[in-house]
Amino acid sequence: MELFTNQVLAGIATGAIYACMALAVVMIYQAIDHLNFAQGEMAMFSTFISWQLMQWGVSYWAAFLITLAFSFVAGIAIERILFKPLVKAPVLTNVAGFIALFAIINSSAGLIWDFTIKQYPTPFGSSPFLGSQLISTHQAGMIGVTVLLLLGLYFFFQYTRIGLAMRAAASVPESARLVGINTSWMIALGWGMATAIGSIAGMLIAPVVFLEPNMMGGVLIYGFAAAVLGGLSSPFGAVVGGFLVGIFENLAGTYIPGVGNELKLPIALALIISVLVVKPAGLFGRHIVKRV
């Protein structure tokens, strides 16, 4: 039983990483209706920016805020410059665009900062949290930040005019335009916010997985899986999905014989798919009703 609780705790700790990423994925899905394959790379690039700032002697929190602002602006710029011309192109062409963006960012980061692994500082310290060997204060801090982000987003979307406008633009663009919402800019804003959230995720994840151009590869897959499991229309679902995926993965690695590190991912994905077969819109997602 102790093994079980310990593994669940460890799962929650890794789950916090996935939850962060899943939140960014859901944000952008809300704004543009596709999964952005380059999201992880964008987060990685932001994290490198903050690392570079710290190398230049900027303090952690100043670097954090500058990176946040930079990511927000960069997200909007990417949307305006690269993806706005593709609005009328087919969906699959847009997906190809994401893959292109992925290649560009990954390769540029590799050229600027090379592929060696770098240490990344944490503001929370890394001593054991409340005497538990499995969760460090950093991981506890991560869970805290994720929950705070979630609350912030909830209030933003539920109680501010601009949040309402973004929701309207995402769900019924035609009607939103009729009541005077600039839907095109709402999409750009969605990109900006998603990139900023992604950069927070990146900066929180970097102390755990270490900083390098390919650091987000695995994390993004789990982030997607978590977002899909929780339901792509629900930020709350994304966070719960993140924790569940973390726990799934750890328990599968512990209890199913013959599962090494290599098979953890396929098994976690298989479990998620079994859940989706029963609940096709994810655990907390809404069923989309199609008009014929």
Partner: protein
């Protein structure tokens, strides 16, 4: 987040509706292309012949994805898994059972058809992003499954298997590469003709009806579940054949040749060639084989970025892929004729 989101705007489709006549080339053009493909190898070096063989093989794999996505509207990131199954089927049959390479191809097709059909069953309940995740899971799982200990006796584990390259039969005076090219060409033409006819048949119309409107299709009496799984089966079968040919051409199979990167390349090939336009598959295959090499020769350190920029250029200029160029060409030819 709000109830209003439940209603999705009408006419918003993941895959465009391509009419079936627009899916192929005219007879004259097809024969011309075939003639070029037949003659060129006589005049070029062995390495180029090898690259042309790979072009046909990847073209087949992209064609298979095109039938699934462009034809029936289902999205797959798991094509690399079917490709791997095809490749391993051929490799194991040839190396352990001494089966003739040509005979392993129908076997791979059958094995992969079955595998794809079965995979299509649970995937029936999923669509769009969810289906993409499910097929993605298959693609990430496949290399790990091939490395499993109890399969190692057959698959050779991480090391993979070496496959012998066949000689030209009947004492034909041809190099191995050239023979393999012509062999691949025969298989490719056969599968291409099969695919064109499939999409023109009753089943093909059923695929397209499902792609354009699933609910309308089912109310017209189309057995949606059957045709969706069938599309998966056929696509997997063709991908399996491509995998077999690939294994024979490269003379080597290893789990890490069949990762998600392959599936993503095939997807890019489909987009560049034009979703739903079958001849475009081969244009797309050329893109995914030659453009990464080109990018590497432009800049070693930034090859990924150069590739990305080139890809962006292509999708800006022709968001509908090579099909757009073909349509423009046709219109231009039509104008010339009228003048």
């Amino acid at each position: 987040m709000s109830a209003a989101e439940e209603v999705v705007a009408e006419g918003h489709q993941a895959v465009e509706a391509v009419p079936k006549r627009a899916m192929t080339l005219g007879t004259g053009t097809s024969l011309l292309v075939l003639a070029v493909l037949l003659v060129v190898p006589v005049f070029v070096k062995n390495f180029i012949i090898f690259q042309m063989t790979m072009l046909l093989i990847y073209g087949l794999a992209v064609l298979a994805l095109n039938i699934l996505t462009g034809g029936s509207g289902q999205f797959s990131l798991g094509q690399s898994a079917f490709y791997a199954v095809g490749a391993y089927t051929s490799a194991v049959l040839m190396e352990y059972f001494n089966v003739n390479y040509a005979l392993t191809i129908p076997v791979s097709a059958a094995v992969c058809f079955g595998f794809g059909y079965l995979f299509g069953k649970p995937a029936l309940r999923l669509s769009g992003v969810y289906l993409a995740l499910a097929t993605f899971a298959l693609a990430t799982a496949m290399p790990q499954l091939l490395k499993l200990n109890f399969l190692e006796h057959w698959t050779g584990g991480v090391q993979g298997l070496v496959v012998t390259k066949p000689d030209a039969p009947f004492g034909l005076p041809m190099s191995q590469d050239m023979w393999l090219y012509y062999f691949t060409l025969i298989v490719t033409v056969a599968i291409y003709v099969f695919s064109v006819n499939l999409l023109r048949s009753r089943s093909g119309r059923a695929f397209m009806a499902i792609r354009d409107n699933e609910i309308a299709a089912s109310s017209m009496g189309v057995n949606v579940a059957l045709y969706k799984t069938l599309a998966f089966g056929v696509s997997a079968g063709i991908t399996g054949v491509a995998g077999s040919l690939g294994a024979i051409a490269v003379q080597f199979v290893a789990p890490d040749s069949y990762t998600i990167t392959l599936a993503i390349s095939l997807f890019l090939g489909m987009v560049v060639g034009g979703v739903g336009w079958l001849p475009g598959s081969f244009v797309g295959a050329a893109f995914i084989i030659f453009v990464p090499n080109m990018a590497e020769s432009i800049s070693k350190g930034l090859s990924g970025a150069v590739f990305g920029v080139l890809l962006f250029l292509v999708i800006y200029l022709v968001p509908h892929g090579a099909r757009q160029i073909a349509i423009l060409g046709q219109q231009f030819a039509g104008k010339l004729r009228r003048n």
